[in-house]
């Protein structure tokens, strides 16, 4: 599903190049649950963003379903990414001015899903996450765990092949964290590929494969 070859990312400020990722080679097969671990500043999030096509590498090749991502136009990327990829962030990142219902609706709108079908899907999600009563609330009226559940629901509402989760439990208490992780596990069992970034050994144990990132290099443990 994913093939990365010699992916490098650096930022230049003045004459100094700061390397974030160096020569990353990575293969991910469909249905995997991969965990990326490493200390702060190791480049984990950058790698995840590149995987999710939110950021582009400085050099190297990236194939998603054999499509050369590094050569696609913005429009093609946006198509690819709205049909196949769902994102979950540490700080939830819901649209503040939209209600729970509308936040769930937004990706479907961009995918041009028809009205009735949209309603059905949103209802299904609200039901599945026990959020029906909260559908007209705004994000700031919800607890962190509830917001993260909405974020996960928003990520999976388009039935993505790949879910990218950046410290999904980082801002949550233990109970809420477990709930979210169980959810991801359930999705993985349903066939969705999941790549998560985490500090927590406990969360890493949900995954089947772990790669370690230190100063931009992949290191074997």
């Amino acid at each position: 599903m994913i093939k990365m070859k010699e992916i490098t990312k650096f930022y230049s400020s003045g004459f100094v190049k700061t390397f974030v990722l160096r020569n990353i080679d990575l293969d991910v097969k469909e249905g995997e649950f991969l965990t990326i671990m490493g200390p702060s500043g190791a480049g984990k999030s950058t790698l995840l963003h590149i995987l999710g096509m939110l950021d582009s590498p400085s050099s190297g090749e990236y194939f998603f379903y054999d499509k050369p991502v590094h050569r696609l136009s913005e429009r093609q990327l946006s198509d690819l990414h709205k049909n196949h990829i769902g994102f979950v962030f540490q700080s939830y990142h819901l649209i503040d001015d939209l209600t729970v219902y509308e936040n769930l609706e937004t990706p479907l709108l961009y995918k041009k899903v028809k009205g009735s079908e949209r309603k059905g899907k949103i209802a299904e999600m609200l039901d599945r996450f026990n959020m029906v009563a909260k559908k007209d609330l705004f994000p700031n009226q919800l607890s962190g765990g509830q917001q993260q559940k909405v974020a996960v629901a928003r990520a999976i509402i388009i039935n993505p092949k790949l879910i990218l989760a950046d410290e999904p439990t980082g801002n949550l208490n233990t109970k809420e964290g477990t709930e979210v992780m169980d959810l991801l596990k359930e999705l993985n069992e349903g066939g969705t590929t999941i790549i998560q970034v985490t500090h927590s050994e406990k969360n890493a144990s949900y995954g089947r494969r772990i790669i370690n990132l230190v100063d931009g290099w992949i290191v074997d443990k």
């Binding site: 999030s45 946006s78 709205k82 503040d96 001015d97």
Partner: protein, 792 residues
């Protein structure tokens, strides 16, 4: 999707109420001002456009080349119109038109009124111009010399609901006229205005001093012609240019055609302006002011929209994450800003409806907002709103949508850089326009003040004037004696013209001993009775004023002004002979120059003589105390002399104000629009300042922790705004200087453009801006640093 955009936009408006208010209200004021001005401009441009034959109608004007610059005028001699029509087949119709100089007494049974708007014209008038007849036949209506035509409202005033046709009106207790037609009331935007029309052939019944109808040397009547369809006005002009010379070989006037549609706006170079006449310059100036205000308001709108858009960066990033294409985001921002702009438009229409009566009053017009008849304005305003919305959406749409979501979500985005420069340019241009308007306002009001306060060379205070009817001239001396018996009356005099509105006659038929025959001297002539010079406290610099002690004064004496003395080149004019027409007169005195026309023109050489038949006005100088009583006395004396004539009086001050009404109106409107422009600019600045203060909250917090004082922080925040306003001054000064220099050229007597005017405008702009900004700066500086740093 669309609904989603609307929801987001609406929630944004609600969440940032202050910004939204400033944004929408500011633009609404701008659009409203613009609409009001456009209504005015439209009204000016539509003047006289209701005539169906408009494109074939012309007025005959003449140029007189002996003056410098060449003078243009429209009053023609009476025989010209019929002669031209007879001789040139391309002239299909011709009509003379004139308003009687003074009010006439019109009687129907036991009612009588002094009617000031009685005009005389030829029968062709009704088929040339589109003044629809409610009663009567346009082909024949004025053919009978005994006939009279009146407008609907006048007919109502005299006859109520009775049928006016066939009723007999008596004028001046002398002539009877039979009503032959009733016209619909004359539209306000018509150059030709009247209440009554009489046949032109009766002119000699009213102008008794002269033979008129066959007199080629006496001018005073507008001559309108209608050309055959598609006839060329140029070729006719070539044929008739020297037509007057056929009848008056010594005439130097060249006649030409002025298109009737240009009469209202393009006649400022033509002498003897018609009441209500417009000027294309003011149309341009106000259109420009409208544009300025709109630009200022749009800039505000854009500025605030861009400033606020940074807050939307996160939303943009998230939308991209969940699959928004760039084009979709661009659309979203455009929809939003155009939507807001239209919201402003709705508010603007409400404002226009509210302020239209006040504006109509100020501008001296009756304006109505009627969408169906102002389709141009509607389209223009819609386009402008769309454009403003579109432009203000451009920056957020193009810049924010281009952001990489990662940048936004990580919070590493610097929105300062690009948007900052853009906003700075906008604010500078906005303030440049405001300062430009402030300077213009100061200059215009100073010029108006100057004209009103400049020494006129005579005292116009406490003088009332009574328009006289012609036959009353004989009884003037007895009236004067009666009036002077009353206490409260200082002096009484008569003259042919108001000392504000020129003279009765212009002539070059003067000669004197030692005159160089090559020289061409044009003199203005006015008839003034005894005591005129004294009544107005004019200064006699040489010789003496008219006096009853010298029997010959009434026929042989003239007084000239200083300019005349200079132009005639006389060393010692008193006692010299001056041949004027065919009368030999003696110059008895020289009067100090006084302004007998408006300050647009220079003082011309003037000749004063006593010609009682030309008297048109009685001037009465009053003592300052208890004026109403004195006027009551005058009225009762008037009543014993002329029991049939209603008493009519005016203060000279009013006549004087009338002289500069256009400038005054412009000045007042200018004041209002400038205040509004500044207000809009400040609204924008206020919004921007609060935005900037907010952005720098963290910096301010850190500075406070490090020990910065309140005043230090306020200065820090205000400093950059000061810089912008100084730059704006540099931009606007040269433009203002040039524009005002040009405008002042239109006045023969004008103020100097002084540096302090510019400096004052700069100070005003700076002071207002500082007041606006300081509120936000102080608020920011007073905030508790712990609040701003908590989240770091």
């Amino acid at each position: 999707m669309f609904l989603n955009y609307i929801k987001i936009a609406w929630r944004n408006i609600k969440r940032y109420k202050g910004y939204s208010f400033i944004n929408i209200f500011g633009l609404a004021i701008g659009l409203a001002c613009c609409m009001l001005i456009l209504l005015w401009v439209q009204d000016e441009l539509q003047y006289d456009r209701f005539h169906t034959n408009l494109h074939d109608l012309y007025r005959i004007n003449a140029e007189f080349h002996k003056t410098e610059p060449v003078s243009h005028y429209w009053p023609m001699c009476a025989p010209l119109a019929p002669a031209l029509k007879e001789e040139y087949p391309e002239i299909v119709k011709a009509a003379r038109f004139t308003r009687l100089r003074r009010g006439q007494l019109v009687k129907y049974r036991d009612q009588n009124f002094l009617e000031p708007r009685i005009c005389l014209t030829d029968p062709d008038f009704f088929s040339m111009f589109t003044f629809p007849l409610l009663e009567g036949d346009p082909q024949t209506v004025l053919s009978d010399p005994q006939s009279i035509v009146l407008v609907e409202s006048t007919a109502l005033k005299y006859f109520g609901n009775e049928n006016p046709i066939g009723k007999v009106l008596n004028i001046n207790n002398e002539q009877d006229f039979t009503v032959a037609g009733v016209l619909r009331d004359i539209p306000e935007n018509s150059t030709i205005q009247f209440d009554f029309l009489l046949p032109f052939v009766r002119i000699e019944d009213f102008e008794k001093a002269w033979a008129v109808l066959d007199n080629w040397s006496l001018s005073g009547f507008a001559t309108y012609i209608q050309l055959e369809e598609k006839a060329s006005s140029e070729s006719l002009e070539n044929k008739i240019a020297y037509y007057l010379q056929k009848h008056v070989p010594e005439s130097e006037d060249v006649i030409y055609l002025q298109a009737f549609k240009n009469l209202h706006l393009f006649s400022s170079h033509v002498q003897f302006s018609i009441e209500g006449q417009g000027d294309i310059t003011y149309v341009y100036i106000f259109s420009l002011v409208a544009l300025f205000i709109l630009v200022i308001a749009s800039i505000n709108f854009m500025n605030l929209a861009t400033a606020r858009s940074a807050k939307r960066a996160k939303e943009v990033g998230l939308r991209k994450v969940v699959g928004a294409k760039r084009a979709q985001l661009i659309c979203q921002f455009f929809y939003e800003s155009v939507g807001l702009a239209f919201l402003s438009l709705i508010l603007a229409v409400v404002l226009v409806e509210l302020f239209l009566p006040i504006f109509s009053n100020l501008s001296g017009k009756t304006l109505v907002l009627d969408f169906s008849s102002h389709i141009h304005i509607v389209i223009a305003i819609l386009l402008m709103t769309l454009l403003t919305g579109f432009l203000s959406g451009t920056y957020p749409a193009l810049f924010l949508s281009s952001l990489k979501p990662v940048q936004v979500l990580k919070g590493t985005l610097k929105t300062e850089g690009r948007g900052f420069l853009f906003r700075r340019i906008l604010v500078v241009s906005q303030f440049s326009l405001s300062i430009l308007l402030i300077i213009c306002t100061i200059v215009v009001s100073r010029q108006i003040g100057y004209m009103q306060n400049k020494k006129l060379g005579f005292n116009r205070e406490h003088i009332v004037y009574l328009p006289m009817r012609e036959e009353l001239a004989e009884r003037f001396e007895t009236l004067k004696t009666e009036l002077k018996k009353k206490s409260g009356i200082v002096n009484v005099a008569a003259s042919s013209s108001l000392p504000t509105s020129g003279v009765i006659l212009t002539t070059d038929k003067v000669s004197w001993e030692g005159k160089n025959p090559e020289d061409n001297v044009v003199l203005e002539v006015t008839s003034t009775g005894y005591d005129f010079i004294e009544t107005f406290n004019m200064e006699v610099v040489e010789g003496r004023s008219f006096s009853k002690e010298f029997v010959t004064d009434e026929e042989k004496a003239v007084v000239i002004n200083e300019t005349a003395k200079k132009i005639m080149g006389m060393e010692d004019p008193v006692g010299k002979q001056l041949i004027f027409g065919d009368a030999a007169t003696i110059i008895i005195g020289v009067v100090k120059d006084y302004h007998f026309k408006s300050m647009h023109s220079e003082i011309e050489p003037l000749l004063m003589a006593i010609v009682p038949t030309l008297y048109r006005y009685v001037f009465i100088k009053l003592e300052s105390g208890n004026i109403p009583n004195t006027i009551a006395d005058i009225k009762s004396i008037w009543g014993t002399f002329f029991p049939d004539t209603p008493f009519e009086y005016h203060f000279l001050d009013e006549a004087y104000d009338k002289l500069y009404r256009t400038e005054q109106r412009m000045g007042t409107l200018f004041n209002y629009f400038t205040v509004l422009a500044i207000l809009i600019s400040c609204l924008g600045l206020f919004g921007l300042a609060s935005f900037m203060a907010e952005k720098r909250t963290k910096e301010i917090g850190i500075r406070k922790v490090l020990g910065a004082s309140l005043s230090g922080i306020v200065v820090l925040l205000n400093k950059q705004f000061t810089k912008w306003i100084l730059i704006a001054n540099l931009v606007s000064w040269p433009i203002a200087y040039y524009a005002m220099f040009k405008w002042l050229q239109g006045f023969a007597y004008r103020i100097k453009l002084e540096f302090w005017t510019f400096a004052l405008a700069a100070m005003i702009a700076l002071a207002i801006a500082m007041m606006t900004v300081s509120y936000q700066s102080i608020k920011a500086a007073l905030a508790d640093p712990a609040d701003s740093l908590r989240y770091e």
